[in-house]
Symmetry: C2
Subunit: 371 residues, 2 copies
């Protein structure tokens, strides 16, 4: 089928896909020994390590990896006063890595995640699957009951409109986790021994108009298509909330993808999530979020973006205004967050000047004038 | 978890679930030898066989099954002039079986479908899985990335609003097919050798606001919740179209389920679809539908039902009016179909008097008056 990515199964490809077009972003507070297991899959790529916490601590990276490491001092130096939009003492800091990347694609992973095995016992090359997901279209406008129609051995089923079979560009690929599932504190407490052992061999598009809980543990996206919306909010040190960084990004991203007709996929690849975080610590971080999400989700379900919002940046600024106006009533935190959303976009455009819409437009005009 | 149905894996349960509350509806033109393979799973249940085509032909049913068989003469006798809403020479005739059933649940299956095996090599009890799907809630309002949260070993992930974790009643369970996938004629022609061998171990709710191509080959539903919307339309003999019977029902059902906050699930169970139908014959039946669906799907995506539509019947009559008004412009066929939709509801209410809203209301009033 046209549009299908024909790369070998989950073996290590001889020429790594998108070798010079993808960065791997890793937030961490410890030595990155976990990379040893990923070496066959990650070593060809550039890593962006965002060191959280004490910047004077040295983080060891296994030999042979190509990386840049940014600690809090670097973030402050690079962003100046705008560094206020980057969270501290929370994995939300990872979004700084999205901003300084110069590549078209980003894959981000937590440092307690390891290589999982598929049901045949073979190591899963998670990055390769994400790339397949991103390089093949999505189907947000109508549901295909045989899942991803672009996958080998699958197609659109009877009754799927032919006009929609080209699909939409894929902006986000959301992967899953075997072993420790991504549960909130209450569920962790109620089901301390629950492990995810079900390998669901599917990738599917989350339909237009439907929100989902996006987890940042195993996530890839197209920076050019959706990067400026991948802001992980204000979490951790000095903030009333934690563990909602990826959720916040996911709500914003999905609303904007729906508006711009971009696709969001979830499902494969799985990785092995090794360690459950402490549910008591998590409850402390989450409990305001547990209340707030009851209002935030209807807010995002009803958020609308005007026709004038034709870039991710414009969409994001419009969302920040709606956050200020509608969520500011819930708690002053959201006023601060709305400000930070604007700062984030300013910082993004400063670090990515060629990607700003004005610059692109200007470049386009220049070319036209030169003809 | 509360709401989880705790029945054994895919083994034959000692007491069949819903034994006296479920009918199996089978449309056919031939002897039902295929039932032999289903005997361990189907024998405890009542079958409703709808014989299509020549009513003088005798259909053999293997011994030991409890069944009623209706041929065209029976349909004409039972419905009188209203029999015009039941298709002839098309498997759409099966919906007559939904109407004459007196049970709460219906499972319908094609006679070229056999028992499939799960990846461990065990026979899949498709009916049992459908019942599990119907008896556990759906999650139409927000997407759960670990699929069915009510399944053993699964739950709602972090970021899933707690207010939505009770879910919604499940009205429809849509199962899938191994071996021959449910493709349209063009796809059959382009990929004559494609077989579905991917077993995706998941059940998921199709989100509110999203339409899907519902296939009638392997389908179960709650008659009380959604029965009157399960009309398979006018297809086959004397009609300009075929092979869109289940699609039509699926579009109507999904719009009404969304309006009434009912859930629609898809995924497990699989069955083994043995034989591809002739793509040339199929193309002849389908080709008008291939054009029309480009208009019909946006029509259903934009259809709205008022607050007054608080029963399936009222919703369905409202849809019939919208079909007449908006789709009638495409082809006079839709005017005839809109009429048939009304006739269907009249016939349904005639055969199911206690289930009509007025009768229920009257019974309620009677009780109140007697106090």
């Amino acid at each position: 089928m046209a549009g299908t990515v024909t790369v070998p199964g989950s073996s290590v490809p001889s020429t790594p896909l998108l070798k010079d077009e993808l960065d791997i972003v890793i937030p961490t507070i410890r030595n990155l020994d976990f990379l040893e297991m990923w070496r066959p899959f990650f070593q060809p790529y550039h890593l962006i390590i965002v060191q959280d916490g004490d910047p004077s601590k040295a983080i060891k990276v296994p030999e042979g990896f190509d990386y840049d490491l940014y600690n809090r001092n670097d973030i402050n130096r690079i962003l100046g006063p705008k560094a206020s939009c980057i969270s501290f003492k929370d994995s939300a800091c990872r979004c700084f890595g999205y901003m300084v990347s110069k590549k078209k694609y980003v894959f981000t992973i937590d440092d307690d995640c390891f290589v999982a095995k598929d049901p045949s016992g073979k190591d899963i090359n998670a990055l390769e699957q994400h790339i397949k997901n991103l390089l093949s279209p999505s189907t947000p406008f109508f549901f295909n009951t045989l899942y991803d129609p672009y996958r080998e051995g699958a197609d659109f089923v009877r009754g799927y409109p032919f006009s929609l079979r080209e699909g939409a560009p894929t902006a986000v690929s959301h992967g899953l986790w075997l072993n420790i599932p991504d549960y909130d504190a209450p569920t962790q407490m109620v089901k301390p021994r629950e492990r995810n052992s079900r390998y669901v061999d599917a990738v599917l598009t989350i339909p237009k108009g439907t929100l989902f809980p996006m987890c940042g543990m195993n996530l890839a996206f197209d920076r050019q298509l959706i990067g400026p919306a991948m802001y992980f909010g204000l979490m951790g040190d000095g903030q009333p909330i934690g563990r909602y960084d990826d959720m916040w990004a996911g709500w914003c991203v999905k609303v904007i993808c729906d508006h711009l007709s971009l696709g969001v996929k979830t499902g494969l690849p799985y990785l092995w999530h090794s360690k459950a975080s402490n549910p008591f610590v998590n409850l402390k971080k989450e409990y305001k979020g547990i209340f707030w999400q009851e209002d935030i989700i209807p807010f995002f379900q009803n958020a609308t973006l005007s026709k004038e919002c034709d870039t991710v940046q414009k969409c994001y600024i419009s969302l920040s205004e709606q956050v200020r106006e509608k969520l500011g009533k819930i708690d002053p935190y959201f006023l601060k967050l709305a400000d930070a959303m604007v700062t984030w976009i300013e910082a993004w455009d400063e670090l990515n000047p060629s990607a700003t819409p004005d610059a692109v437009a200007a470049a386009g005009n220049g070319k036209a004038a030169a003809k």
